[in-house]
């Protein structure tokens, strides 16, 4: 149990997908203008991550990796190269499902998220979390912890960034730095701050 808590906490703070690995940056910078939108997107990302990472883990370990098909008598087959195609398909399907559910049961959130919902499919953070999970060879339960941590971490980063940018709106910034430029620099400082936590053994 402490192993799972450790994975979760590590992923949220020490190995933050947005601020330590720089995944999901495009959406990160585009959505972080307002805290409310950021929160909505953050929740959607948490849901997709928690579902997609364990699902991809199951598919990879029971169908694709070397020796996975031993139960079918095809132990030498190694289909891991099909991994990327399967994983992106799973993610696209999950996002489509989420869209349908939101549209039916939470129409206000659906409207607020607008175009950003389908854009979650191409959010590097989602695919990235799956790829890291495979690299580190987690089992299914660990994948759930990791997926949740990845989602929470990314949401935390995007909401923090939105808070910063809302304050920056009133600042007198040189014309060339307005908007995108200052967002980058602020993100760099935020990332530097998170690096200060690195190395803590949880």
């Amino acid at each position: 149990m402490s192993d799972l808590a450790s994975i979760f906490l590590r992923t949220v703070f020490l190995e933050n997908l947005a601020l330590a690995y720089f995944l999901g940056m495009c959406t990160f910078l585009a959505v972080s203008k307002e805290v409310k939108t950021a929160m909505g997107l953050g929740i959607a990302v948490i849901v997709i991550e928690t579902l997609s990472v364990p699902l991809n883990n199951l598919i990879y370990n029971s169908l694709l990796r070397q020796g996975a098909l031993a139960w079918m008598g095809l132990g030498q087959m190694d289909f891991s190269y099909l991994g990327l195609l399967c994983q992106i398909a799973v993610i696209a399907a999950l996002v489509q499902l989420l869209e349908i559910v939101l549209h039916r049961f939470f129409p206000a959130l659906y409207q607020a998220l607008g175009i950003f919902l389908p854009l979650i499919t191409v959010n590097c953070a989602i695919l990235g979390a799956t790829l890291f999970m495979i690299q580190r060879d987690y089992d299914v339960v660990q994948s759930v912890a990791y997926g949740m941590g990845a989602g929470f971490g990314w949401a935390l980063a995007v909401i923090a960034m939105a808070g910063l940018r809302e304050k920056l709106r009133y600042s007198d910034i040189p014309a060339g730095l307005q908007g995108l430029g200052i967002a980058f620099i602020a993100a760099g400082l935020l990332s530097l701050g998170f690096m200060g936590i690195a190395g803590i053994n949880i």
């Binding site: 190995e15 190269y81 099909l82 195609l85 580190r136 060879d137 690195a198 190395g199």
Partner: protein, 272 residues
């Protein structure tokens, strides 16, 4: 845009699937032999650099590298039994994959797992280097959890089974500019001549907290610190202490000190 009927959609999707799978599978099948060869070359390079068989500064071609590698005396040993396992072919055994295989590995009890490994393969491939019938050195694989991810390397031990002849870290993801010094030959060269155990057999080797003053007490067991990379340095100390302690090669090296291994020509692979 084409007319949107279910039939057309289905046909398009199927066609895309077939064409894409063809290209992907073709590239994988055609390129796999090259990739496997690359892995073998990399492993050869990592091990050979520690054997002292390549004259310093000389560049040798891939063919020669592979031949030299295959001429080494490779043995798979059972760590817990501290004995060689002749049944396992050292040239095809994958120690890294074995650590994840429940049949070929053991879980390390939490109190003993100072290197953060979780599981440890029961068997490891060692490389013995013979010079004129005498054992010159042994190359042993090591690994341990670093600050960011697993660190992998090899350590070469001289024939007294205590002095370090060299070491190499070939895979790590430590902080660039700080922790990744462990992969630099400059730092690795400081390990040459350092000792692992003292006269009583206690494991004393460690990465120091500062620069090591030559001649100070205990200096022969210490290596210079890494500036600003305490966690990585501690990780290296921990992994050395695990692998050369009672849970790793410790018992084997103790045994060999009492009764050194014999050269056995049947273990070197035929180079044909």
């Amino acid at each position: 845009m084409a007319r949107d009927t279910p039939i057309r959609a289905l046909v398009t999707v199927l066609l895309t699937a077939v064409v894409c799978s063809f290209f992907v599978s073709a590239s994988v099948v055609l390129l796999r032999p090259i990739q496997l060869n690359n892995e073998l070359l990399k492993r050869s390079d990592n091990v050979l650099v520690l054997t002292g068989l390549i004259p310093a500064g000389e560049q040798i071609g891939d063919e020669q590298l592979l031949d030299l590698f295959k001429s080494l005396d490779a043995r798979v040993i059972d760590i817990d039994a501290a004995a060689p396992v002749p049944e396992i072919d050292p040239w095809t055994f994958d120690g890294r994959a074995a650590a994840a295989d429940p049949d070929l590995s053991v879980t390390i009890p939490a109190g003993e797992d100072i290197a953060g490994l979780g599981r440890r393969s029961r068997y490891k491939t060692l490389y013995l280097v013979w010079k004129d019938g005498e054992l010159d050195r042994v190359v042993l694989p090591i690994r341990g959890a670093g600050m960011w991810s697993m660190i992998y390397g090899y350590v070469a031990i001289e024939s007294d089974f205590n002095t370090i002849a060299g070491m190499v870290i070939y895979e790590q993801n430590e902080t660039p500019g700080l922790g990744d010094m462990i992969a630099k030959p400059y730092w690795q060269s400081k390990w040459v001549g350092k000792k692992l155990y003292d006269a009583q057999g206690d494991m004393l080797f460690r990465v120091a907290e500062g620069p090591v003053q030559a001649g100070a007490a205990g200096a022969e067991y210490e290596v210079d610190a890494l500036t600003g990379a305490t966690i990585t340095a501690n990780a290296v100390t921990a992994l050395m202490r695990y692998w050369f302690g009672p849970g790793g090669y410790g018992p084997l090296l103790e045994q060999w000190r009492a009764r050194p291994p014999q050269e056995s020509t049947t273990n070197a692979r035929e180079t044909t």
